[in-house]
Symmetry: C2
Subunit: 219 residues, 2 copies
DNA sequence: AATACATTCAATTGATATATTGAATGATAT
DNA sequence: ATATCATTCAATATATCAATTGAATGTATT
């Protein structure tokens, strides 16, 4: 006798779920949410052995979460579609609400240094159009290059102190990064405030901005 | 040195993902989406050993997906909140779009016998109010008892043939079940059509109806 | 208090996943 | 063609997970 179609489906769903069931793969997905990446770029940024990263990527591919294309000697991976972002977002929300440890980490680490609520995408868009804010993208230059909020200033965290003069002191700064738990923008806001600048974070990160259909600029 | 908060978070998220990364646990969640259930009820309905079911349930609890309460000698489990449904729904959609096997199973098995599109919840609600349809709930009696579409007729699949006389021959029947991949309503529609009755399925199942905030009736 | 029952825990076995290493493939450049 | 580089495959040791069994816990009933 053959197994029921329902069991076959559940087995497939379980495979997809297991594919996002590893911290390294979640981190890989967070990076791919910024844009296409090669195996080498990913492995070095995450501190994984190349073969290891490659295998994780193939598990993600088997689960339909990423696709790859060859460009010369490089193989570039990217997220299959925005459904991956949706899945990760459900996962995050659920974990924040229902797992005590997550709530503690989020409140203890991310919120302590930062009593304010983040600026929503809609609010930011309005304030941008009114010319009221400086938008700061704190991601590395290559991620910035492959797409960013129009008019944003790209200053990776390591250069922030050295380039403070680029900010207009009277103008509010809104910083963003890869996503909700990307620490870079928290750090940036904290450091800017120490210097007496008015700074807040944007909600979530660039992938969500893109998925919301808001305007982008590249290079 | 301590691990970064981001890594700690990703580890937590991965735990949640792994919790839904097993076919039995997905099936457990589908059943709990119908309402509270005891360990024994779940284990017998899924054909699992009791200890086995209990351990799966505890993994789900550790992951924050279900909660439990004691009622006399029974321990009743239920979904933590509607976020669990949202997560499962993202998972389903993603798998349907990006995994070839899933598409095949869905189209091959579920759609072949049934060229029609399901009735949307909104459309059903209108037709119900206009008194145009008989709503058929094909789930087992206990699931029906803990909540169903108002005015629905409960005929488990096994009794369908014997109780055909309860249907008004001129009236359209809309059948529903546990969820998108619950086979019962497909079967029911197929059998009713063989008898010359006009029957369609409702989209998804009762948990989604409930989550959409639509009216419910119990026993 | 003693018994019955539902559930959970603990220990075992077999299966599956991960990280590592070194070799194999596939594409470009010389 | 040969060399070079990025990536993937294959094989291994280690760790984690799943199902089973039998014992332990906790609650209701007698």
């Amino acid at each position: 006798m053959s197994i029921s179609p329902k069991q076959a489906l559940f087995a497939e769903f379980a495979t997809v779920a297991r594919a996002i069931g590893h911290p390294h793969r979640l981190e890989i997905l967070e990076h791919l949410a910024q844009g296409e990446r090669g195996v080498d770029a990913l492995s070095s940024r995450l501190g994984l052995a190349i073969a290891n990263a490659s295998q994780h990527l193939q598990q993600l591919r088997r689960a339909g979460l990423v696709t790859s294309r060859r460009d010369g000697k490089f193989v570039l991976y990217r997220l299959s579609d925005d459904g991956v972002l949706a899945l990760l977002s459900s996962l995050r929300q659920l974990a924040e609400r229902n797992i005590a440890e997550v709530g503690q980490i989020v409140r203890g680490y991310f919120d302590e240094r930062d009593s304010m609520e983040p600026v929503s995408r809609g609010e930011l868009l309005e304030r941008m159009r009114a010319g009221l804010v400086t938008v700061l993208d704190v991601r590395p230059a290559d991620e910035f290059a492959s797409g960013h909020v129009p008019g944003a200033l790209n200053i990776p965290l390591s250069e922030l102190e050295a380039r403070l003069s680029e900010f207009d002191p009277g103008r509010e700064i809104v910083a963003y990064c890869r996503g909700t738990y990307c620490v870079l923008s928290f750090e940036a806001v904290a450091r800017l405030r120490v210097r007496g600048l008015k700074a807040r974070r944007m909600e979530e990160g660039l992938p969500e901005w893109r998925a919301a259909g808001l305007p982008l600029e590249s290079t």
